[in-house]
Protein backbone atom coordinates (compact mmCIF):
# COMPACT_ATOMS: atom_id res chain seq x y z
CA UNK A 1 0.00 0.00 0.00
CA UNK A 2 2.85 2.41 -0.68
CA UNK A 3 1.96 6.01 -1.44
CA UNK A 4 -1.71 5.64 -0.62
CA UNK A 5 -1.99 9.35 0.23
CA UNK A 6 -0.64 10.59 -3.08
CA UNK A 7 -2.49 7.86 -4.95
CA UNK A 8 -5.73 9.35 -3.68
CA UNK A 9 -5.03 12.26 -6.04
CA UNK A 10 -4.30 10.03 -9.00
CA UNK A 11 -6.68 9.93 -11.91
CA UNK A 12 -7.28 6.97 -14.14
CA UNK A 13 -5.24 7.09 -17.33
CA UNK A 14 -7.23 6.71 -20.55
CA UNK A 15 -4.72 4.35 -22.18
CA UNK A 16 -2.92 1.99 -19.83
CA UNK A 17 -3.55 0.21 -16.53
CA UNK A 18 -1.92 1.45 -13.32
CA UNK A 19 0.46 -1.50 -13.19
CA UNK A 20 2.35 0.05 -16.12
CA UNK A 21 3.23 3.08 -13.98
CA UNK A 22 6.98 3.47 -14.45
CA UNK A 23 9.42 3.04 -11.58
CA UNK A 24 10.65 6.57 -10.93
CA UNK A 25 13.88 5.66 -9.12
CA UNK A 26 17.02 5.57 -11.24
CA UNK A 27 18.48 7.58 -14.09
CA UNK A 28 15.14 9.17 -15.07
CA UNK A 29 14.27 10.36 -11.55
CA UNK A 30 14.96 14.08 -12.26
CA UNK A 31 12.53 13.94 -15.19
CA UNK A 32 9.80 12.35 -13.06
CA UNK A 33 10.38 14.81 -10.21
CA UNK A 34 10.02 17.77 -12.57
CA UNK A 35 7.03 16.22 -14.33
CA UNK A 36 5.24 15.90 -10.97
CA UNK A 37 5.56 19.68 -10.71
CA UNK A 38 4.37 20.20 -14.28
CA UNK A 39 7.79 20.99 -15.74
CA UNK A 40 9.65 19.22 -18.53
CA UNK A 41 13.30 18.53 -17.75
CA UNK A 42 15.83 16.84 -20.03
CA UNK A 43 19.49 15.86 -19.60
CA UNK A 44 22.41 17.80 -21.08
CA UNK A 45 26.16 17.38 -20.88
CA UNK A 46 27.26 19.47 -17.90
CA UNK A 47 30.41 20.42 -19.77
CA UNK A 48 29.65 20.88 -23.50
CA UNK A 49 25.87 21.31 -23.20
CA UNK A 50 24.75 18.91 -25.94
CA UNK A 51 21.49 17.03 -25.45
CA UNK A 52 22.01 13.57 -23.97
CA UNK A 53 19.82 10.48 -24.09
CA UNK A 54 17.71 9.89 -20.99
CA UNK A 55 19.91 7.10 -19.61
CA UNK A 56 23.23 8.41 -20.92
CA UNK A 57 25.87 8.90 -18.23
CA UNK A 58 28.92 9.98 -20.26
CA UNK A 59 28.84 12.57 -23.05
CA UNK A 60 29.62 11.06 -26.46
CA UNK A 61 31.08 14.36 -27.71
CA UNK A 62 33.40 15.54 -24.94
CA UNK A 63 33.59 12.50 -22.67
CA UNK A 64 32.45 14.35 -19.58
CA UNK A 65 30.44 12.48 -16.99
CA UNK A 66 27.43 13.63 -15.09
CA UNK A 67 24.30 14.64 -16.99
CA UNK A 68 22.71 17.90 -15.91
CA UNK A 69 18.92 18.05 -16.05
CA UNK A 70 17.32 21.35 -16.94
CA UNK A 71 13.96 22.66 -17.98
CA UNK A 72 13.22 22.70 -21.72
CA UNK A 73 10.45 24.18 -23.85
CA UNK A 74 7.53 21.75 -23.88
CA UNK A 75 7.16 21.64 -27.62
CA UNK A 76 8.55 19.86 -30.62
CA UNK A 77 7.77 18.12 -33.88
CA UNK A 78 6.70 14.60 -34.76
CA UNK A 79 9.80 12.61 -35.72
CA UNK A 80 7.89 9.35 -36.23
CA UNK A 81 4.38 8.20 -35.46
CA UNK A 82 2.33 5.02 -35.37
CA UNK A 83 -1.31 4.22 -34.70
CA UNK A 84 -1.50 1.06 -32.62
CA UNK A 85 -4.43 -1.22 -33.40
CA UNK A 86 -3.43 -4.09 -31.13
CA UNK A 87 -4.68 -3.84 -27.56
CA UNK A 88 -3.07 -6.15 -25.04
CA UNK A 89 -6.13 -7.04 -22.93
CA UNK A 90 -4.58 -6.91 -19.47
CA UNK A 91 -2.54 -3.73 -20.08
CA UNK A 92 -4.44 -1.42 -22.44
CA UNK A 93 -7.72 0.17 -21.32
CA UNK A 94 -8.53 1.97 -24.56
CA UNK A 95 -10.79 0.26 -27.09
CA UNK A 96 -9.87 2.39 -30.10
CA UNK A 97 -6.55 2.62 -31.94
CA UNK A 98 -4.10 4.92 -30.16
CA UNK A 99 -1.20 7.12 -31.23
CA UNK A 100 2.42 6.70 -30.22
CA UNK A 101 4.68 9.54 -31.25
CA UNK A 102 8.43 9.93 -31.27
CA UNK A 103 8.64 13.64 -30.52
CA UNK A 104 11.75 15.65 -31.30
CA UNK A 105 11.76 18.41 -28.70
CA UNK A 106 13.15 21.83 -29.57
CA UNK A 107 15.97 20.91 -27.19
CA UNK A 108 16.95 18.08 -29.57
CA UNK A 109 15.84 15.19 -27.35
CA UNK A 110 13.66 12.53 -28.96
CA UNK A 111 11.10 11.10 -26.56
CA UNK A 112 8.45 8.47 -27.20
CA UNK A 113 5.05 9.44 -25.82
CA UNK A 114 1.36 9.04 -26.37
CA UNK A 115 -1.34 11.69 -26.19
CA UNK A 116 -3.29 13.10 -23.23
CA UNK A 117 -6.55 11.94 -24.80
CA UNK A 118 -7.43 9.65 -27.72
CA UNK A 119 -6.38 11.68 -30.76
CA UNK A 120 -5.03 10.44 -34.09
CA UNK A 121 -4.04 11.60 -37.53
CA UNK A 122 -0.56 12.89 -36.77
CA UNK A 123 2.07 13.02 -39.51
CA UNK A 124 5.85 13.28 -39.43
CA UNK A 125 6.79 16.95 -39.15
CA UNK A 126 3.65 18.10 -37.28
CA UNK A 127 4.20 20.60 -34.48
CA UNK A 128 3.08 19.32 -31.08
CA UNK A 129 2.87 20.66 -27.54
CA UNK A 130 4.05 18.49 -24.67
CA UNK A 131 2.28 18.26 -21.36
CA UNK A 132 1.71 15.37 -18.95
CA UNK A 133 -0.57 12.46 -18.24
CA UNK A 134 -0.69 10.43 -15.06
CA UNK A 135 -0.28 6.66 -14.89
CA UNK A 136 -0.84 5.30 -11.41
CA UNK A 137 0.59 8.22 -9.47
CA UNK A 138 3.39 9.03 -11.91
CA UNK A 139 3.30 12.04 -14.24
CA UNK A 140 4.91 11.35 -17.61
CA UNK A 141 5.35 13.47 -20.75
CA UNK A 142 2.54 13.27 -23.29
CA UNK A 143 1.51 15.14 -26.40
CA UNK A 144 -1.29 17.58 -25.67
CA UNK A 145 -4.46 16.52 -27.44
CA UNK A 146 -5.15 20.22 -27.96
CA UNK A 147 -3.26 21.49 -31.03
CA UNK A 148 -0.49 23.97 -30.30
CA UNK A 149 -1.18 27.64 -31.00
CA UNK A 150 2.05 28.07 -32.98
CA UNK A 151 1.03 25.47 -35.55
CA UNK A 152 0.28 28.09 -38.21
CA UNK A 153 -0.20 25.45 -40.87
CA UNK A 154 -3.28 23.97 -39.27
CA UNK A 155 -6.48 24.76 -41.13
CA UNK A 156 -8.68 27.35 -39.45
CA UNK A 157 -12.37 26.59 -39.34
CA UNK A 158 -14.32 29.86 -39.81
CA UNK A 159 -16.67 30.56 -36.92
CA UNK A 160 -15.34 27.76 -34.76
CA UNK A 161 -12.27 28.26 -32.63
CA UNK A 162 -12.83 25.45 -30.17
CA UNK A 163 -10.22 22.77 -29.67
CA UNK A 164 -12.52 20.18 -31.18
CA UNK A 165 -12.48 21.89 -34.56
CA UNK A 166 -8.87 20.98 -35.16
CA UNK A 167 -8.80 17.73 -33.25
CA UNK A 168 -7.74 15.17 -35.75
CA UNK A 169 -9.58 11.99 -36.49
CA UNK A 170 -8.09 8.55 -36.68
CA UNK A 171 -7.12 7.48 -40.13
Amino acid sequence: MRGSVTRAQATTDWLVVDSLAPATAGALEPMYDAAAAGRLQMPFCASCRIALELEQLVCDRCGSGGPQWQEVEPRGTVHAVTTVHRHEPSLIRAREPYSILDVELESGHRIIMTTTAPVGGYAVGDAVAVTFRTVGDVAIPAVSATPPVWAHDLPVQPGDDSAESTTKEHR
Partner: protein
Amino acid sequence: MIDPALIGLGLTPMSVRPGGGAEALALEAVRRALEDAAVGLDEVDGLLVNSSQGIRPDRVGTALARHGGFKQLRLLEHVEIKGATAAAMVQRAVLAVRAGMASTVVCVFGDAPLRPGGTSGSTYAKSGGVDGLRGLERASGLLGSVPTFALLASRYLALTGGSEADLCAVVRSTRAWAVANPQAVQRSPLTAADYESSRMVSTPLRVLDCARPVNGAGAVVIGDARRAVEAGHPPVFVRGMSQWHPMRRRTAPGESWFGGGAGPAVDAALAMAERSRADIDVLELYDPFSVVTLCLLEDYGFCELGQAGELARAGALGPGGKLPTNTGGGQLSAFYLQGITPLAEGIIQLRGNGGERQVAGASTALVAGIGGRIDHHAFVVLDRDAA
Protein backbone atom coordinates in the same frame (compact mmCIF):
# COMPACT_ATOMS: atom_id res chain seq x y z
CA MET B 1 45.74 -26.87 -36.88
CA ILE B 2 42.05 -27.57 -37.44
CA ASP B 3 40.45 -25.75 -40.36
CA PRO B 4 37.07 -24.90 -38.77
CA ALA B 5 33.86 -25.20 -40.73
CA LEU B 6 30.15 -25.52 -40.11
CA ILE B 7 29.84 -29.31 -40.09
CA GLY B 8 26.43 -29.87 -38.54
CA LEU B 9 22.98 -28.29 -38.59
CA GLY B 10 19.96 -29.27 -36.52
CA LEU B 11 16.51 -27.72 -36.57
CA THR B 12 13.51 -28.89 -34.57
CA PRO B 13 10.07 -28.80 -36.16
CA MET B 14 8.77 -25.23 -35.93
CA SER B 15 5.55 -25.11 -33.93
CA VAL B 16 3.01 -22.30 -34.06
CA ARG B 17 1.19 -23.78 -31.08
CA PRO B 18 2.12 -23.73 -27.39
CA GLY B 19 4.16 -26.64 -26.14
CA GLY B 20 7.74 -27.58 -25.54
CA GLY B 21 10.13 -25.83 -23.21
CA ALA B 22 12.99 -23.76 -24.60
CA GLU B 23 15.61 -25.99 -23.01
CA ALA B 24 14.11 -29.25 -24.24
CA LEU B 25 13.79 -27.78 -27.72
CA ALA B 26 17.40 -26.59 -27.62
CA LEU B 27 18.62 -30.07 -26.66
CA GLU B 28 16.58 -31.63 -29.47
CA ALA B 29 18.24 -29.25 -31.92
CA VAL B 30 21.66 -30.19 -30.49
CA ARG B 31 20.85 -33.88 -30.91
CA ARG B 32 19.87 -33.34 -34.54
CA ALA B 33 22.95 -31.18 -35.27
CA LEU B 34 25.32 -33.80 -33.82
CA GLU B 35 23.56 -36.56 -35.77
CA ASP B 36 23.84 -34.45 -38.92
CA ALA B 37 27.57 -33.98 -38.27
CA ALA B 38 28.08 -37.61 -37.23
CA VAL B 39 29.74 -36.31 -34.08
CA GLY B 40 29.23 -37.85 -30.66
CA LEU B 41 28.23 -35.83 -27.62
CA ASP B 42 31.44 -36.99 -25.96
CA GLU B 43 33.47 -35.32 -28.73
CA VAL B 44 31.95 -31.90 -28.05
CA ASP B 45 34.31 -29.71 -26.03
CA GLY B 46 32.64 -26.35 -26.58
CA LEU B 47 29.09 -25.09 -26.06
CA LEU B 48 27.78 -21.61 -26.81
CA VAL B 49 24.24 -20.75 -25.78
CA ASN B 50 21.95 -18.08 -27.26
CA SER B 51 18.65 -17.38 -25.55
CA SER B 52 15.81 -15.00 -26.19
CA GLN B 53 16.40 -11.78 -24.34
CA GLY B 54 13.80 -10.24 -22.13
CA ILE B 55 11.87 -11.63 -19.22
CA ARG B 56 11.44 -15.33 -19.89
CA PRO B 57 11.17 -17.76 -16.99
CA ASP B 58 12.56 -20.55 -19.15
CA ARG B 59 15.48 -18.67 -20.65
CA VAL B 60 18.18 -21.11 -21.73
CA GLY B 61 21.56 -20.59 -20.11
CA THR B 62 24.82 -22.32 -19.31
CA ALA B 63 22.88 -24.86 -17.23
CA LEU B 64 22.08 -26.43 -20.60
CA ALA B 65 25.49 -28.12 -20.41
CA ARG B 66 24.57 -29.86 -17.14
CA HIS B 67 21.02 -30.72 -18.18
CA GLY B 68 22.02 -31.87 -21.65
CA GLY B 69 24.52 -34.55 -20.71
CA PHE B 70 27.56 -32.71 -21.99
CA LYS B 71 30.95 -33.89 -20.75
CA GLN B 72 33.85 -31.72 -19.57
CA LEU B 73 33.93 -28.61 -21.71
CA ARG B 74 36.85 -26.40 -22.61
CA LEU B 75 34.53 -23.59 -23.74
CA LEU B 76 31.11 -22.67 -22.31
CA GLU B 77 29.49 -19.28 -22.68
CA HIS B 78 26.06 -17.68 -22.72
CA VAL B 79 26.53 -15.21 -25.57
CA GLU B 80 24.28 -12.15 -25.59
CA ILE B 81 24.15 -9.52 -28.32
CA LYS B 82 20.39 -9.89 -28.76
CA GLY B 83 19.47 -10.92 -32.30
CA ALA B 84 23.07 -10.64 -33.49
CA THR B 85 24.04 -13.47 -31.15
CA ALA B 86 23.78 -16.45 -33.51
CA ALA B 87 26.24 -14.99 -36.01
CA ALA B 88 28.43 -13.81 -33.13
CA MET B 89 28.46 -17.34 -31.66
CA VAL B 90 29.76 -18.67 -34.97
CA GLN B 91 32.51 -16.05 -34.90
CA ARG B 92 33.37 -16.97 -31.32
CA ALA B 93 33.43 -20.68 -32.11
CA VAL B 94 35.62 -20.29 -35.22
CA LEU B 95 38.13 -18.16 -33.32
CA ALA B 96 38.19 -20.62 -30.42
CA VAL B 97 38.87 -23.58 -32.72
CA ARG B 98 41.55 -21.69 -34.62
CA ALA B 99 43.18 -20.74 -31.33
CA GLY B 100 43.12 -24.31 -30.10
CA MET B 101 40.78 -23.53 -27.22
CA ALA B 102 38.29 -26.12 -28.45
CA SER B 103 37.96 -28.54 -31.34
CA THR B 104 34.23 -29.15 -31.72
CA VAL B 105 31.82 -26.42 -30.67
CA VAL B 106 28.02 -26.56 -30.57
CA CYS B 107 26.11 -23.27 -30.88
CA VAL B 108 22.43 -23.41 -29.97
CA PHE B 109 19.35 -21.22 -29.70
CA GLY B 110 15.95 -22.31 -28.39
CA ASP B 111 12.82 -20.35 -27.62
CA ALA B 112 9.21 -21.00 -26.66
CA PRO B 113 7.32 -17.69 -26.80
CA LEU B 114 3.97 -19.39 -27.46
CA ARG B 115 2.37 -20.34 -24.18
CA PRO B 116 -0.95 -21.89 -23.23
CA GLY B 117 -3.65 -19.28 -22.83
CA GLY B 118 -1.88 -16.46 -24.62
CA THR B 119 -0.46 -15.50 -27.97
CA SER B 120 3.22 -14.82 -28.59
CA GLY B 121 2.13 -11.18 -29.01
CA SER B 122 0.99 -11.22 -25.39
CA THR B 123 4.29 -12.74 -24.30
CA TYR B 124 6.19 -9.90 -25.95
CA ALA B 125 3.72 -7.21 -24.80
CA LYS B 126 4.12 -8.30 -21.18
CA SER B 127 7.93 -8.29 -21.35
CA GLY B 128 10.01 -5.27 -20.46
CA GLY B 129 9.13 -4.27 -16.91
CA VAL B 130 8.63 -0.75 -15.55
CA ASP B 131 12.22 0.34 -14.97
CA GLY B 132 14.23 2.99 -16.77
CA LEU B 133 13.59 4.20 -20.30
CA ARG B 134 11.76 1.02 -21.24
CA GLY B 135 9.38 1.59 -18.34
CA LEU B 136 8.63 5.10 -19.60
CA GLU B 137 8.04 3.83 -23.13
CA ARG B 138 5.77 1.01 -21.99
CA ALA B 139 3.72 3.47 -19.89
CA SER B 140 3.24 5.34 -23.17
CA GLY B 141 1.71 2.25 -24.77
CA LEU B 142 4.84 0.99 -26.53
CA LEU B 143 4.35 -2.72 -25.79
CA GLY B 144 6.30 -5.45 -27.52
CA SER B 145 8.41 -4.86 -30.61
CA VAL B 146 5.78 -4.07 -33.22
CA PRO B 147 5.03 -0.43 -32.27
CA THR B 148 8.76 0.18 -31.94
CA PHE B 149 9.49 -1.01 -35.45
CA ALA B 150 6.33 0.75 -36.64
CA LEU B 151 7.92 4.02 -35.52
CA LEU B 152 11.05 3.01 -37.41
CA ALA B 153 8.92 2.26 -40.48
CA SER B 154 7.09 5.57 -40.15
CA ARG B 155 10.36 7.46 -40.11
CA TYR B 156 11.90 5.38 -42.90
CA LEU B 157 8.94 5.80 -45.25
CA ALA B 158 8.70 9.54 -44.50
CA LEU B 159 12.40 10.04 -45.20
CA THR B 160 12.66 7.92 -48.33
CA GLY B 161 9.25 8.64 -49.83
CA GLY B 162 8.53 4.93 -49.76
CA SER B 163 5.12 3.39 -49.43
CA GLU B 164 3.33 0.34 -48.13
CA ALA B 165 3.78 -1.15 -51.60
CA ASP B 166 7.49 -1.45 -50.76
CA LEU B 167 6.69 -3.35 -47.57
CA CYS B 168 4.24 -5.55 -49.45
CA ALA B 169 6.92 -6.39 -52.02
CA VAL B 170 9.28 -7.58 -49.29
CA VAL B 171 6.60 -9.72 -47.68
CA ARG B 172 5.56 -11.27 -50.99
CA SER B 173 9.20 -11.97 -51.86
CA THR B 174 9.77 -13.93 -48.65
CA ARG B 175 6.51 -15.77 -49.14
CA ALA B 176 7.50 -16.78 -52.66
CA TRP B 177 10.60 -18.42 -51.17
CA ALA B 178 8.67 -19.98 -48.27
CA VAL B 179 6.24 -21.69 -50.64
CA ALA B 180 9.12 -24.02 -51.54
CA ASN B 181 10.45 -24.47 -47.99
CA PRO B 182 8.91 -27.46 -46.17
CA GLN B 183 10.09 -26.05 -42.82
CA ALA B 184 8.33 -22.70 -43.32
CA VAL B 185 5.19 -22.21 -41.25
CA GLN B 186 3.51 -19.87 -43.76
CA ARG B 187 3.61 -21.39 -47.23
CA SER B 188 0.47 -20.32 -49.05
CA PRO B 189 1.07 -17.98 -52.00
CA LEU B 190 0.33 -14.36 -51.19
CA THR B 191 -1.24 -11.71 -53.41
CA ALA B 192 -1.08 -7.96 -52.90
CA ALA B 193 -4.78 -8.09 -52.04
CA ASP B 194 -4.07 -10.69 -49.34
CA TYR B 195 -1.46 -8.35 -47.92
CA GLU B 196 -3.70 -5.30 -48.01
CA SER B 197 -6.50 -7.12 -46.24
CA SER B 198 -4.30 -8.49 -43.47
CA ARG B 199 -4.84 -7.14 -39.98
CA MET B 200 -3.21 -3.82 -39.11
CA VAL B 201 -1.14 -4.13 -35.93
CA SER B 202 0.59 -0.75 -35.68
CA THR B 203 0.64 1.52 -38.72
CA PRO B 204 2.15 0.98 -41.21
CA LEU B 205 2.89 -2.60 -40.08
CA ARG B 206 0.31 -5.30 -40.71
CA VAL B 207 0.46 -8.74 -39.19
CA LEU B 208 2.09 -9.96 -42.41
CA ASP B 209 4.87 -7.39 -41.96
CA CYS B 210 5.85 -9.11 -38.71
CA ALA B 211 7.96 -12.20 -38.11
CA ARG B 212 6.13 -15.41 -37.29
CA PRO B 213 7.15 -16.51 -33.76
CA VAL B 214 7.50 -20.24 -33.22
CA ASN B 215 8.41 -22.63 -30.46
CA GLY B 216 11.55 -24.23 -31.80
CA ALA B 217 15.30 -24.38 -31.76
CA GLY B 218 18.33 -24.57 -34.00
CA ALA B 219 21.91 -25.66 -33.48
CA VAL B 220 25.10 -25.78 -35.52
CA VAL B 221 28.35 -27.64 -35.01
CA ILE B 222 31.69 -25.99 -35.78
CA GLY B 223 34.64 -28.29 -36.10
CA ASP B 224 37.15 -29.96 -38.39
CA ALA B 225 36.03 -29.57 -42.01
CA ARG B 226 37.12 -33.15 -42.73
CA ARG B 227 34.38 -34.40 -40.43
CA ALA B 228 31.76 -32.85 -42.70
CA VAL B 229 33.12 -34.76 -45.67
CA GLU B 230 33.06 -37.98 -43.64
CA ALA B 231 29.43 -37.27 -42.75
CA GLY B 232 28.58 -36.76 -46.41
CA HIS B 233 28.22 -32.98 -46.47
CA PRO B 234 30.21 -30.29 -48.20
CA PRO B 235 31.85 -28.33 -45.39
CA VAL B 236 30.65 -24.74 -45.12
CA PHE B 237 33.59 -22.52 -44.29
CA VAL B 238 33.36 -19.28 -42.36
CA ARG B 239 35.66 -17.12 -44.43
CA GLY B 240 34.74 -13.64 -43.25
CA MET B 241 33.55 -12.19 -39.96
CA SER B 242 32.80 -8.75 -38.56
CA GLN B 243 30.57 -6.85 -36.17
CA TRP B 244 29.28 -3.30 -36.07
CA HIS B 245 27.54 -1.51 -33.26
CA PRO B 246 26.37 1.89 -34.53
CA MET B 247 25.84 4.52 -31.87
CA ARG B 248 22.86 6.34 -33.30
CA ARG B 249 21.72 8.86 -30.73
CA ARG B 250 18.13 9.54 -29.74
CA THR B 251 18.83 13.22 -30.19
CA ALA B 252 18.75 15.59 -33.18
CA PRO B 253 20.09 15.99 -35.78
CA GLY B 254 21.01 12.45 -36.96
CA GLU B 255 18.59 9.62 -37.67
CA SER B 256 17.78 7.65 -34.53
CA TRP B 257 15.98 4.68 -35.98
CA PHE B 258 18.09 3.27 -38.79
CA GLY B 259 21.33 3.68 -40.70
CA GLY B 260 24.60 4.16 -38.95
CA GLY B 261 26.93 2.95 -41.63
CA ALA B 262 27.23 -0.81 -41.36
CA GLY B 263 28.50 -0.92 -44.96
CA PRO B 264 32.19 -0.78 -43.96
CA ALA B 265 31.63 -3.75 -41.64
CA VAL B 266 30.19 -5.71 -44.57
CA ASP B 267 33.24 -4.60 -46.58
CA ALA B 268 35.50 -5.88 -43.81
CA ALA B 269 33.84 -9.29 -43.64
CA LEU B 270 33.96 -9.64 -47.43
CA ALA B 271 37.59 -8.50 -47.57
CA MET B 272 38.51 -11.14 -44.99
CA ALA B 273 36.79 -13.68 -47.23
CA GLU B 274 38.45 -12.25 -50.37
CA ARG B 275 35.02 -11.72 -51.83
CA SER B 276 32.95 -8.77 -53.02
CA ARG B 277 29.23 -8.04 -52.95
CA ALA B 278 29.00 -9.30 -56.54
CA ASP B 279 30.18 -12.74 -55.35
CA ILE B 280 27.28 -13.15 -52.92
CA ASP B 281 24.94 -15.82 -54.25
CA VAL B 282 22.49 -15.72 -51.37
CA LEU B 283 21.89 -12.93 -48.86
CA GLU B 284 20.44 -14.09 -45.55
CA LEU B 285 19.27 -11.15 -43.45
CA TYR B 286 17.58 -10.85 -40.08
CA ASP B 287 14.05 -9.73 -41.00
CA PRO B 288 11.78 -9.42 -37.95
CA PHE B 289 9.74 -6.83 -39.85
CA SER B 290 9.45 -6.15 -43.57
CA VAL B 291 10.82 -2.63 -43.25
CA VAL B 292 14.03 -3.95 -41.69
CA THR B 293 14.97 -5.74 -44.92
CA LEU B 294 14.73 -2.41 -46.76
CA CYS B 295 16.84 -0.59 -44.14
CA LEU B 296 19.50 -3.30 -44.14
CA LEU B 297 19.84 -3.54 -47.93
CA GLU B 298 20.61 0.18 -47.94
CA ASP B 299 22.75 0.23 -44.81
CA TYR B 300 24.78 -2.77 -46.01
CA GLY B 301 25.56 -1.10 -49.33
CA PHE B 302 23.47 -3.20 -51.71
CA CYS B 303 21.67 -0.08 -52.94
CA GLU B 304 21.38 3.63 -52.25
CA LEU B 305 19.23 5.09 -49.48
CA GLY B 306 15.60 4.93 -50.54
CA GLN B 307 16.20 2.48 -53.40
CA ALA B 308 15.52 -0.81 -51.61
CA GLY B 309 11.77 -0.58 -52.12
CA GLU B 310 12.26 -0.34 -55.86
CA LEU B 311 14.60 -3.32 -55.73
CA ALA B 312 11.97 -5.34 -53.89
CA ARG B 313 9.16 -4.27 -56.21
CA ALA B 314 11.27 -5.26 -59.22
CA GLY B 315 11.54 -8.80 -57.84
CA ALA B 316 15.30 -8.66 -57.24
CA LEU B 317 15.01 -10.31 -53.83
CA GLY B 318 12.76 -13.19 -54.80
CA PRO B 319 13.21 -16.48 -56.67
CA GLY B 320 15.02 -15.81 -59.94
CA GLY B 321 15.99 -12.30 -58.83
CA LYS B 322 19.47 -10.84 -59.10
CA LEU B 323 19.91 -10.65 -55.31
CA PRO B 324 18.28 -13.74 -53.78
CA THR B 325 17.46 -12.66 -50.24
CA ASN B 326 16.10 -14.69 -47.31
CA THR B 327 15.76 -17.68 -49.57
CA GLY B 328 13.94 -19.86 -47.05
CA GLY B 329 11.23 -17.28 -46.42
CA GLY B 330 13.11 -15.47 -43.68
CA GLN B 331 11.64 -14.72 -40.30
CA LEU B 332 8.63 -13.16 -41.99
CA SER B 333 7.32 -16.26 -43.74
CA ALA B 334 9.42 -19.22 -42.57
CA PHE B 335 9.94 -18.95 -38.81
CA TYR B 336 11.29 -16.48 -36.27
CA LEU B 337 14.17 -18.29 -34.68
CA GLN B 338 16.15 -15.07 -34.31
CA GLY B 339 19.69 -15.33 -35.72
CA ILE B 340 19.34 -19.03 -36.44
CA THR B 341 16.87 -18.33 -39.27
CA PRO B 342 19.35 -16.66 -41.65
CA LEU B 343 22.29 -18.82 -40.50
CA ALA B 344 20.49 -22.11 -41.11
CA GLU B 345 19.31 -21.03 -44.55
CA GLY B 346 22.83 -20.00 -45.54
CA ILE B 347 24.11 -23.46 -44.64
CA ILE B 348 21.24 -25.23 -46.42
CA GLN B 349 21.83 -23.25 -49.63
CA LEU B 350 25.60 -23.78 -49.63
CA ARG B 351 25.15 -27.48 -49.07
CA GLY B 352 22.82 -27.55 -52.06
CA ASN B 353 20.01 -28.85 -49.86
CA GLY B 354 17.49 -26.16 -50.75
CA GLY B 355 15.28 -28.46 -52.79
CA GLU B 356 12.77 -26.51 -54.86
CA ARG B 357 14.09 -23.22 -53.48
CA GLN B 358 17.77 -24.01 -54.15
CA VAL B 359 19.66 -21.13 -55.75
CA ALA B 360 21.63 -22.86 -58.49
CA GLY B 361 25.34 -23.01 -57.81
CA ALA B 362 25.18 -21.06 -54.56
CA SER B 363 28.70 -21.08 -53.13
CA THR B 364 28.95 -17.82 -51.18
CA ALA B 365 26.49 -16.50 -48.61
CA LEU B 366 26.42 -13.39 -46.48
CA VAL B 367 24.62 -14.09 -43.21
CA ALA B 368 23.76 -11.09 -41.09
CA GLY B 369 22.27 -10.78 -37.62
CA ILE B 370 20.94 -7.66 -35.96
CA GLY B 371 20.08 -6.97 -32.37
CA GLY B 372 17.90 -4.51 -30.49
CA ARG B 373 16.57 -1.65 -32.57
CA ILE B 374 19.15 -2.40 -35.28
CA ASP B 375 21.77 -1.48 -32.68
CA HIS B 376 24.00 -4.48 -33.28
CA HIS B 377 25.20 -6.22 -36.42
CA ALA B 378 27.18 -9.44 -36.77
CA PHE B 379 28.23 -10.80 -40.16
CA VAL B 380 29.63 -14.09 -41.37
CA VAL B 381 30.61 -14.82 -44.95
CA LEU B 382 30.04 -18.50 -45.64
CA ASP B 383 31.73 -20.25 -48.54
CA ARG B 384 32.05 -23.73 -49.94
CA ASP B 385 35.71 -23.14 -50.75
CA ALA B 386 38.43 -23.50 -48.15
CA ALA B 387 40.74 -20.54 -47.70
